[in-house]
């Protein structure tokens, strides 16, 4: 069965990223697939490559990145929600004349249409609210 997940909560202010990550691992372990994980609202902060995680805590951005690499799961970040929270890739940094960019390379900035597309094509959709 094909799953699509949405994460609305940010690391450290919501349990949503951890719950979603554990659930995603269980989905894959059960032999199902995940077509896309969509990061929306404050959930876009999961995609920052500049967060430095304390050694005794889970680096959630790195965990998402590994999951994506090992299981071919697309990590999609809402571009509008990301830009206003300071999550930008190289192209957007150039467009808005910003000095830096910080989107983790495992993630991609996309439009809301990509979430609609994921919901239509997946058998099951699970939202992880903040």
């Amino acid at each position: 069965m094909k799953f699509a997940l949405a994460v609305y909560g940010a690391p450290y202010s919501s349990q949503a990223p951890h719950t979603a990550y554990n659930f995603a691992c269980s989905v894959l372990q059960a032999g199902h697939s995940i077509s896309r994980i969509f990061f929306y609202h404050a959930g876009v902060l999961n995609a920052s490559s500049l967060a430095v995680t304390p050694q005794d805590e889970l680096d959630i951005t790195e965990q998402w990145s590994k999951l994506s690499r090992n299981h071919d799961v697309e990590l999609a970040v809402c571009i509008a929600a990301a830009l206003k929270r300071g999550i930008v890739n190289k192209e957007e940094a150039t467009r808005y004349e910003l000095g830096q960019f910080n989107l983790h390379p495992a993630f991609e900035l996309v439009g809301l249409g990509q979430w609609v597309d994921a919901m239509i094509s997946a058998d099951r959709v699970v939202v992880f609210g903040k």
């Binding site: 069965m1 799953f3 609305y8 349990q15 949503a16 719950t19 554990n22 659930f23 691992c25 269980s26 989905v27 372990q29 059960a30 199902h32 058998d123 099951r124 959709v125 699970v126 939202v127 992880f128 609210g129 903040k130």
Partner: protein, 100 residues
């Protein structure tokens, strides 16, 4: 196929809990996750307990109960599930609605 509702708020967010209960149809299942597991303890005057008494299938995420040290406070009648059980619930229900 019946709906799976997922609730992640305790009764301190009573509006969300009530909205979830109001939306539950006959035969729907409910999974309590994160702070939602507090609804399954005797300490909160939550409408979730009434739902259980009326025969609804209500599941609780074991990991969140353990994280909050609530093992001995969960009322009887709630069904504990791990994340693999959660995946099975998702397969058995459609749509899946999150309340947060």
């Amino acid at each position: 196929m019946s709906t799976l509702h997922i609730l992640n708020k305790s009764n301190s967010d009573a509006t969300t809990v009530q909205s979830c209960c109001n939306a539950m149809g006959k035969g729907d299942a409910l999974l309590l996750i994160e702070d939602g597991v507090y609804n399954a303890t005797g300490s909160q005057n939550s409408s979730i307990v009434e739902k259980l008494a009326s025969g609804a299938n209500i599941y609780i995420r074991v990991q969140d109960i353990k994280a909050r040290g609530l093992e001995t406070q969960i009322l009887s009648g709630f069904t504990p599930v791990d994340d693999s059980g959660w995946v099975d619930l998702c397969v058995a229900h459609q749509p899946i609605v999150s309340w947060y």
